[in-house]
């Protein structure tokens, strides 16, 4: 049985329409017009225990809105949600004990208490036993290196430290489910790596089910097998990451250094996508022309000084989908 079940959920926000001009603002004092903003449209998915799912989409796609519905702090306008057998917004407090949540954009720790005090409060809030608390703290301190700032008030922590504290805090009560809304936002490369290792470990060792939103495709690539891609509130893809790669992976890029950067290439199945000094990026479809064939064609007219073939990174695939839409790509590739 899936641990998270989401069926045809919608979330509409009523946004007050802003009237312009003096008369407009006077009018809006008496009668306000509202526009319906559909943040999430008819989304369904189900997630099995122990899965780690990347929930991605461009800005404003509806990711945070979905996460908030899963935590129970937003009620869907329609549709049903079950998280560990519970309807989140009906039993918000009971749901709370099943989930850990990190909103990367804001801390949930108590701003002006030393970090350790926040942990102690959470221990009490979630009724974590002394033994369990001690054990968890030891593990988190080791992997996340909390020691160095446990006695520092949260407001004085650096972003990376705060994020580490936040994720440790979200897991103090051993929730079977973890929601991470941009857990690596603003972190440096090393901190990101640490965060990923930690998430991976938690998922592997404790079978914690993880839903993760991010704008860093490396997070997805390193952590998730499955991704749910949404755009404008709608689900556009749900499945294996490798399948996406497979589907779109036929597009490769050949980077060549030639003598004349302005040189033209007239080769069927390949097109110039970028130029920089004497370096040219040629995108080609593996089904239409092989790399060696392409190189052969180029050497007929130009002398190549250096070359590399780039595999498509998931990042560039996603950005193409964002820009061009998913369906289109399916057809054209």
């Amino acid at each position: 049985m899936p641990i998270i079940e989401v069926n045809n959920i919608n979330k509409d926000f009523m946004v007050a329409k802003r009237e312009t001009g003096f008369l407009g603002s006077v009018r809006s004092l008496f009668k306000r017009e509202f526009i319906k903003k559909e943040a999430v449209k008819d989304i369904s998915f189900s997630i099995e225990k122990g899965e780690m799912v990347g929930y991605i989409g461009p800005n404003g796609a509806g990711k945070s809105t979905t996460i908030k519905m899963l935590t129970g702090i937003l009620v869907p306008s329609s549709g049903t949600i079950k998280v560990n057998g519970i309807v989140p917004y009906e039993q918000r407090q009971k749901n709370a004990s099943n989930i850990g949540v990190v909103f990367g954009q804001r801390t949930q720790l108590w701003w002006d208490l030393p970090t350790i005090e926040s942990f102690e409060l959470l221990k009490e809030i979630y009724q974590v036993s002394d033994a369990r608390y001690k054990q968890n703290m030891e593990i988190y301190q080791e992997i996340l290196g909390l020691d160095e700032f446990l006695n520092t008030p949260v407001r004085q922590l650096s972003l990376g430290q705060r994020m580490r504290a936040d994720i440790a805090a979200s897991l103090l009560h051993d929730p079977p489910i973890l929601f991470l809304d941009e857990p690596t936002i603003g972190l440096d490369v090393v901190a990101k790596e640490k965060m990923r290792t930690f998430i991976q470990e938690i998922n592997r060792e404790r079978k914690v089910t993880v839903i993760l939103t991010t704008h860093d495709m490396e997070d997805i690539e390193k952590l998730c097998n499955r991704m749910v891609l949404i755009d404008h509130g709608q689900k556009v893809y749900d499945g294996d990451i490798s399948a996406v790669k497979e589907r779109f992976g036929k597009i490769r890029t050949l980077v060549v250094d030639v003598e004349n950067g302005e040189a033209t290439f007239d080769i069927v199945g390949a097109e110039v996508v970028k130029r920089e000094a004497n370096r040219v990026w040629l995108q080609f479809n593996r089904d239409e022309i092989s790399a060696s064939e392409l190189i052969g064609r180029i050497t007929q007219t130009h002398s190549i000084k250096d070359l590399t073939v780039e595999e498509p990174a998931i990042e560039s695939i996603i950005s193409r989908i964002y820009q061009e839409g998913f369906e289109e790509k399916l057809v054209s590739v």
Binding site: T65, T71, I73, V75, R92, R106, L121, I125
Partner: protein, 267 residues
Amino acid sequence: MFRMKLYWTFTKKAFLRSAVYRFDVLSRMGSNLIFLLMWGSIWTALYAGKESADGVTFQAMLTYIVVSQFLSGINGAGTPLWDMQEKVRTGDIALELMRPFDVPLRYLFADFGSVAFYFMFALLPVYILVFLFIDLTLPMSWETWVLFLITAFIGFLIRYCIEMSFSFLSFFLVETGGIVDIFYFAMSLLSGSVIPLWFFPDWLEKLAIYMPFQGIYYIPTSIFIGKITGVEIAFSIATQIFWLLVCYGILRFVWHKASQKVVVQGG
């Protein structure tokens, strides 16, 4: 199920938090004393050497001001209105919906902690000195002391309910300046914190008597100086309890509506 231990933890943490903000405590104590000095001088000038006015001796009047200023120290030591509004604005409160505790209660217990700290390390020592050095009236019987403590505590709860309700109103309003003004006006005038109700013009006294605010300062302070006695005390406490229940009901209602709004409209 009421989880006392959990709420008690909030009290302890808030107590510790106050210890971190010692300067805050000091400056609050400073301004409390300045107000005391100001109102003490005003009333000294108003009495202008007269023994008594409206059956209240000068000494009793001075005591009234000292005690109500002390209570205002207590009532001002919790999470202030603007701070709560800030929490509403930033969405911190909305996130607390996700926690397994009751938000209004959680802040009440946290306030107990801040108040306890302020009381122990600022108000109590300072006001003991005030009572030692100024000739003031102290209640003669222990019953009066007990009744004072009870009514002061009920008054604290009434104020808490009203202030929290006002804070949560900011979930519904874009601009909250007006709301805040109304609150502070009622809090300082209608509560009798600086002018006892018996000096009000008739119509205003009638108005104030029928409002909840007098339960915060006027009732406990008047009991302290012996202006309210006998059966009147019972009546005053009944009034206080009535208003506490009403204000608590209002707080619950506003909070219910506010959390409803958060979960439907996203804050």
